[in-house]
Amino acid sequence: MKIDWGHISIKDLAALVTRQLKRHGIDALIVGGACVSIYTKNKYLSSDIDFISHAALKDISNALAELGFKRESSRHFERKGCPFFIEFVPPPAAIGEEPVKEKAELRTRYGRIILLTPTDSVKDRLAAYYHWNDPQAFEQAVMVAKAQKVSIREIERWSLKEGHKEKYKIFVERLKKKIVKS
């Protein structure tokens, strides 16, 4: 199948990369903004895909070279003509102080992708808001929570454990707000 790299969707690219890595015996989990893009159907569009893998970067680099991706810095890869770049963030897969226990799996025309569950994706974005006051991450957390079925109870448990009760309240209040269309 010929791939139109210039117009590829983030989900298809994630699947192509996952498939390619799998061929080389490498498991990788999609985290970060790409999960938000996928779960919100590109209401928020990330410019990169963050993967977490315990494989050596050298092995990852060899696998991705076959797709035309070149290692541009220690952890990120680019392909000529492809609008997204790929980053391999350092393991372990964690959200705040907790390891990622559950993973979601989605089917695409290029195969399966493994990513954070919607609930963990919200927690992942909230972690950036809690720790760095990042307003974009806050908005992304709200977007995922509105677009997908998430466990508010789990998000609350984790937020309190992280010590961010007040910011969690702001998040919940925001979820309750109705969208006013002008």
């Binding site: 220690s74 952890r75 963030v89 350092p90 964690a94 705040g96 102080e97 972690a127 720790h131 760095w132």
Partner: protein, 109 residues
């Protein structure tokens, strides 16, 4: 003291620096420890690649902090705080007890 664990002395100093002051920039750290900026930058880059520190560009200066999303940060800080107690007082005075409160622009020293 923790050099054997971290691999080199510069990492230990950077960790103590960040644990004490909360943040830092390469030139400031280099001046504090009397080493080249390159040496500091090299180690900060290594730590950033490992997800242990994070940086943000403020104006023209890249400010480094511990990566608050590093899952073992609490344990790392506990280790550093414990190790700090064992540092000689002279070393604490020289590197880790510098003025951090504001000073009005133009005020003579």
């Amino acid at each position: 003291m923790l050099e054997g664990l971290f691999g080199n002395i510069m990492i230990e100093k950077i960790f103590f620096y960040l644990n004490t002051y909360g943040e830092g920039y390469p030139l400031g750290m280099a001046k504090t420890f009397g080493v080249s900026v390159n040496r500091i930058q090299q180690q900060l880059k290594r730590l950033e690649n490992a997800g242990i520190v994070a940086s943000i560009l403020k104006g023209k200066v890249r400010i480094y902090t511990f990566n608050l999303r590093y899952p073992f940060l609490r344990e790392l800080k506990t280790l550093l705080s414990k190790a700090y107690e064992f540092l000689p007082e002279a070393e604490k005075d020289k590197y880790y007890r510098m003025r951090t409160r504001p000073r009005r622009t133009g005020k003579p020293l």
